[in-house]
C-alpha cells in the first residue's frame, strides 16, 4: 500500500479521518447519506471489506453534531451502510467484513437530538453492527482516537474484535471528564486520582486493555505523523485478523477474560448454575 497522504501533527479529531484515508487509499469511496459518515469498499488481502468512519463536518445539518459526534443522522447513516452489506451478502457463503474506524469524541448533546430520538438513531447502528456480527460478518473496530460513551456503543463496540493504536489520543470512557466531574460531584483532579486506583474509571488505553476488551494494541513509530511503514503495519494487523477470524464465533464472550473483569465472569458462572432446566 502506498500512502501518498502527508500528515502534520494530526489533531485528535482528525485521526479517524486520516486512518480511514490511509487504509482505504486503494479502495472505492461509496455514497453516504451524510458527509460526516464516510464509507469505502475494497479488499484487505483477499478479504472483501467495507470501512466506515465518522468525521467532523462543519456544515452538518444538525449544529450539535459538527465536530465528529455521533448524532441523529450519523446513527441512522451508519445503520444504512452496515445494513447494505448484510443485504448484499445475504446469500453469500463468505460474508463481507466491516471495519469501523473509531475517533468519536461523544454522542451529540442537544435539544433537537433528544426531541427527535437520538437514542433510537444510536440503537439503529448498534442493531446493524450486532446483526452483521451475528450473521457471520467479521466486524472489526480500530480505535484511532476517542471512543466515548454512546458514540462508541453506536460505532465500534459491537465488533468481534477491537484493535487500538498505541497512541495517547486513544481514550475510552463513559463520559467526558468535565461532565463526569459535575455528575459525580467531584473535581477533575479527584477523578484522575481515583482512576489511578480503579482501572474501569481511567481514560487511558493501558487501563482499558486490562478489562479484556482489546484484541491487540498496535505500536506505531510515529503516532502524530504515521509513515508508510506504520500504515502498512496497521493494514497487516487488520488483514491478519480477517484471515484468522472464526466466522462461527459471533459472540462477545472473549471479552470476559480481562484481568479486571473477574466479577463479570463469576456473575455468569453463578447465573448458569442457578438457571435450572
Amino acid at each position: 500500500m502506498s500512502a501518498t497522504i502527508t500528515t502534520q501533527n494530526l489533531a485528535a479529531t482528525l485521526k479517524g479521518q486520516f486512518w480511514f484515508d490511509a487504509l482505504t487509499i486503494d479502495m472505492v469511496e461509496s455514497a453516504s447519506p451524510v458527509a460526516s459518515v464516510r464509507i469505502a469498499d475494497g479488499k484487505l488481502g483477499d478479504n472483501l471489506c467495507r470501512f466506515i468512519v465518522v468525521q467532523p463536518d462543519a456544515n452538518n445539518l444538525y449544529p450539535r453534531a459538527r465536530n465528529g459526534e455521533v448524532g441523529l443522522l450519523e446513527g441512522w447513516s451508519i445503520a444504512k451502510a452496515v445494513n447494505q452489506i448484510i443485504l448484499e451478502s445475504k446469500d453469500e457463503p463468505v460474508k463481507k467484513a466491516i471495519i469501523a474506524i473509531v475517533d468519536v469524541p461523544s454522542q451529540a448533546y442537544g435539544r433537537r437530538e433528544e426531541a427527535l430520538g437520538i437514542h433510537q438513531a444510536l440503537a439503529a447502528s448498534v442493531s446493524a453492527y450486532a446483526n452483521a456480527r451475528l450473521n457471520g460478518h467479521p466486524v472489526l473496530a480500530l480505535l484511532t482516537g476517542k471512543a466515548m460513551s454512546g458514540a462508541f456503543l453506536a460505532h465500534g463496540y459491537q465488533a468481534n474484535q477491537i484493535f487500538a493504536l498505541d497512541d495517547p489520543a486513544v481514550q475510552v470512557h463513559a463520559m467526558g471528564k468535565a461532565a463526569a466531574a459535575r455528575i459525580t460531584l467531584r473535581t477533575e483532579e479527584q477523578l484522575d486520582q481515583l482512576a489511578s486506583d480503579i482501572p474501569p474509571m481511567a481514560y487511558d488505553l493501558q487501563s482499558y486493555t486490562s478489562l479484556g476488551m482489546v484484541e491487540k494494541v498496535i505500536k506505531l513509530k510515529f503516532t502524530d505523523t504515521p509513515d508508510t511503514e506504520d500504515i502498512d503495519n496497521v493494514s497487516k494487523v487488520l488483514t491478519d485478523a480477517l484471515t484468522n477470524i472464526d466466522p462461527n464465533d459471533t459472540s462477545l464472550s472473549k471479552r470476559f477474560n480481562g484481568i479486571n473483569r473477574a466479577a463479570s465472569r463469576s456473575v455468569r458462572k453463578l447465573l448458569k448454575e442457578q438457571w435450572g432446566n
Binding site: 445539518l61 444538525y62 450539535r64 441523529l72 443522522l73 441512522w76 447513516s77 444504512k80 445494513n83 454522542q107 448533546y109 442537544g110 435539544r111 433537537r112 437530538e113 433528544e114 426531541a115 427527535l116 430520538g117 437520538i118 437514542h119 444510536l122 440503537a123 439503529a124 448498534v126 442493531s127 450486532a130 460513551s149 454512546g150 456503543l153 453506536a154 463496540y157 475510552v172 470512557h173 463513559a174 463520559m175 467526558g176 461532565a179 455528575i183 459525580t184 481515583l194 480503579i198 474501569p200 474509571m201 481511567a202 478489562l211 476488551m213 462477545l252 471479552r255 473483569r261 466479577a263 463479570s264 463469576s266 456473575v267 453463578l270 447465573l271 448458569k272 442457578q274 438457571w275 435450572g276
Partner: protein, 284 residues
C-alpha cells in the same frame, strides 16, 4: 404512601420496589430470583470509592412465567445509585439474556421483560458499565430474533444513557406518563451545550421533550400506560402474545433518515414542532 387500601385509586406500580415489581408481573408462585441478595455479590469497585455497595448491586433478575410463558425478567432498582449500571448489575442482565438465548437454541421459548429505571452507566465503574451495556445490546438483538423482548419504563427515574439505546432495541417498548426516555441526561446536555440549548432546571420543558406522553405521541414507544398494576401486567401479556414484530423500531432506517434530513434546523424546536416533524409522512 401506598394506595392499596383505597378502592377508588388503582394500586400503583411505580411505588413498588424492583423485586415487588417483578413479583407482580409474574404468574403466582412462579418467581425464582437468580443471584439474590443472599449471594452477596456486590460491586468490587464501589467500596474503594467510599460508597456502600448493595447486596444485589441494584439489579433484580428472576426466572418465572407470565401467562404461562417462560420469561426472564430484570428490574433495575432506581433508588440505588440512580439505577446506574455497574459491572455486577450489568452482568446480571446481560448474562440472563445470554442464557435465555441458549434456552431458545434448545427449543425453550424464553422471552424477556426489562424494567428500566436507570441513568445509564455507573460513572464509578465507567468502562465496565459501558462494556456491560454493549453486551446487553448484543444479547437483545439476538434474543429478539426468537422471542419478544419487552422494555417497560414507568418512572420515577426514567431511562437514560446507554440504557435508552437498550430500550430502543427491544421488540416492544412500554411507558407511563411518569416515565422519561432520552439519551443524555438534562444536566449533561446543559454542561456540554449550554443552558440556552437545554435548561436542566426547566422541568416542564424537559418533560415536554422526553416524557412518556410525548414519546408516545411521536411513535417512539408502543404503548402509553396508566400507573396501575393490573393494567401494566395486562399490557405486558398482550405484547408477549404479539410475538416478533414485523419490523424492529431500530431497523426503520430509510423513513427515519429521510425525515431527519428534511428538518429545518435553522430554528430551535419544541414539543409541538417535534410532533409535527415526527408524525408527518411515513409512520415509524
Amino acid at each position: 404512601m401506598t394506595n392499596m387500601n383505597d378502592q377508588k385509586i388503582a394500586p400503583s406500580f411505580i411505588e413498588l420496589n424492583a423485586r415487588k415489581r417483578i413479583f407482580e408481573l409474574l404468574d403466582n408462585e412462579s418467581m425464582k430470583e437468580l443471584l439474590s441478595p443472599f449471594e452477596r455479590l456486590t460491586s468490587p469497585w464501589l467500596e474503594k470509592q467510599g460508597i456502600v455497595p448493595q447486596f444485589d448491586d441494584g439489579v433484580v433478575v428472576a426466572k418465572g412465567e407470565i401467562d404461562n410463558k417462560p420469561v426472564i425478567i430484570a428490574a433495575i432498582d432506581g433508588s440505588f445509585q440512580g439505577g446506574s449500571m455497574g459491572e455486577v448489575g450489568g452482568a446480571k442482565i446481560a448474562g440472563s439474556l445470554e442464557l435465555a438465548i441458549e434456552d431458545n437454541r434448545r427449543g425453550i421459548p424464553t422471552a424477556a421483560v426489562l424494567l428500566l429505571e436507570t441513568g445509564g452507566v455507573r460513572l464509578q465503574e465507567a468502562n465496565l458499565g459501558l462494556a456491560a451495556i454493549a453486551e446487553i445490546h448484543s444479547a437483545i438483538v439476538e434474543l429478539r430474533r426468537y422471542q419478544p423482548v419487552i422494555a417497560l419504563v414507568t418512572g420515577p427515574v426514567g431511562c437514560f444513557g446507554g440504557m435508552s439505546i437498550t430500550a430502543a432495541l427491544c421488540s416492544y417498548l412500554l411507558i407511563t406518563r411518569e416515565g422519561r426516555l432520552g439519551l443524555n441526561g438534562p444536566q449533561v446536555i446543559e454542561q456540554e451545550a449550554g443552558i440556552r440549548e437545554y435548561d436542566s432546571r426547566d422541568r416542564p420543558f424537559i418533560w415536554s421533550i422526553t416524557g412518556g406522553q410525548q414519546r408516545h405521541a411521536i411513535g417512539m414507544v408502543d404503548s402509553f400506560l396508566d400507573d396501575d398494576i393490573s393494567f401494566i401486567k395486562h399490557s405486558v401479556i398482550e405484547h408477549l402474545a404479539l410475538g416478533i414484530p414485523q419490523e424492529f423500531r431500530s431497523d426503520a432506517i430509510d423513513s427515519s433518515l429521510s425525515r431527519l434530513l428534511s428538518v429545518d434546523t435553522t430554528a430551535q424546536l419544541d414539543a409541538d414542532i417535534t410532533r409535527k416533524i415526527m408524525t408527518q409522512g411515513v409512520p415509524l
